[in-house]
């Protein structure tokens, strides 16, 4: 960041660091010493607007909006090299997943990811397994002499998704299907 920029203290969200660090696996945030090791080995470092150590610094400073709107949180390939190499044990890749969760809560969920969730909701799998598609899959498996697929009870998946707070992301076309039966 080269341009000069003044941010007013009242625009900072000092609680942001605690919002993150109270979560499973993200407690390590507060230990960062800004050494930059995470950024130097990062797989996507040349593609992000905020490098890993800067994301961590921004979280600590309370620059919540800047972090949640940066492309850095979505560009990461989750290769976990930052977490592996951090000398202070900061679980950056896990913190990053948490930042994604927060962005999603604010209504910013990439359609690709929402689509994957929908596919799991509808099929129990990330691969569609209904109707003609299922028949084709079964036929291919038969040719290899493989055992029959026994899919999960989708009601259980539905309950888990709703109870863990992502029901709003799912298009419940399946509810119509249910009532058609």
């Amino acid at each position: 960041m080269t341009e000069e920029e003044i941010i007013n203290a009242e625009d900072l969200d000092y609680n942001f660091r605690y919002e993150i660090s109270e979560k499973v696996g993200a407690k390590s945030l507060l230990k960062c010493i800004q050494c930059g090791v995470c950024s130097s080995g990062c797989t996507v470092t040349e593609y992000v607007d905020l490098q890993p150590h800067r994301v961590v610094a921004s979280c600590l400073l309370g620059l919540k909006d800047r972090v949640l709107s940066s492309n850095a949180i979505w560009t990461c390939s989750l290769c976990h090299r930052c977490t592996e190499r951090c000398p202070k044990g900061v679980d950056y890749s896990f913190i990053l997943a948490l930042l994604r969760n927060l962005a999603v809560k604010e209504g910013n969920c990439p359609e690709e990811y929402r689509g994957t969730i929908q596919t799991i909701y509808d099929n129990g799998y990330v691969v569609p397994y209904t109707g003609g598609l299922a028949t084709n899959i079964d036929r291919r498996r038969d040719r290899f002499g493989l055992p029959k697929i026994v899919p999960p009870d989708l009601k259980e998946i539905d309950i888990i998704m709703n109870e863990t707070g992502i029901g709003n992301l799912i298009k419940k076309a399946s509810e119509n299907k249910e009532s058609d039966k």
């Binding site: 499973v24 390939s77 990811y113 999960p152 998704m161």
Partner: protein, 293 residues
Amino acid sequence: MEYALYLGCTIPLKLPHFEYAFREISNYLGLTFKEMEGASCCPDPVATQSVSIDTWLTLAARNLCLGEKLGLDILTICSGCFETLKTAKVLLSEDKAAFDRVNTVLKKIGYEYKGTSNVYHFAELFSQEEYLEKIKKILMNPLDDLNVAVHYGCHLIRPSKILQFDHPERPETIDKIIKALGAKTVAFAGKLECCGFCARLQEEIGFKLVEDKMTELKELEEEVDVMVGVCPACVGQYDRKQRLLSRKTGKELDIPVLYVPELMAIAFGVEKDKLGLTNRSVKPNKLLEKLNI
């Protein structure tokens, strides 16, 4: 040994030939399985974890419960599944609040997660001395003279404090398996680089990573006959993107990419025509010619 076999979704639904190769070699190695009927997607460590860590952990714990009900440790055949299930297992053992939250939800569907089953990837198993010895005894077609590039892939080895799989910067598990088959593994700088499949929202990243690694392999002094991996995402990524890159850049990127159990099956003498080896973008014709099978 008997395990609860966790197949995930990509391999059983899209790549049945991988599953076939895996089951064949397991048979030779004397492993037996109980199927985890009713298991769902692990769920995938990228989209699901990104959307909600709670959902991710709870769905994973539901799958772990199915292994617990069978009273067996769980064996995975995909690195994504391994990462999800193992991470869930470790996090839930370290975080009592998360453990309770997960079980509160699971109770509503009649499950209880206890944490009694361990989670393994087959690479961990097959690289143990006991299995390496078995492998050497089973060999029908030793892969002498074969130069193999091993791709470990991120979700098998990192973060090591959770996955507890191998040395995170100098892993050797897969190399051991390949060497037991009689082949040589090549050393190269990009060995531990990410395949880029999980940087899903920006495909150029994957293209760049695949191009860098494959170009390096093509420029090595020894000719690389095949690249192998233990994750369907990595294997598919290198296979498909090589073809696309060759078309786009004119570079000849044509190293066949096999799933480790496929190469093991070849070495064990499983009938080649049953393995579906041509079900990929870069056909392994040269490799099969060299092996003379």
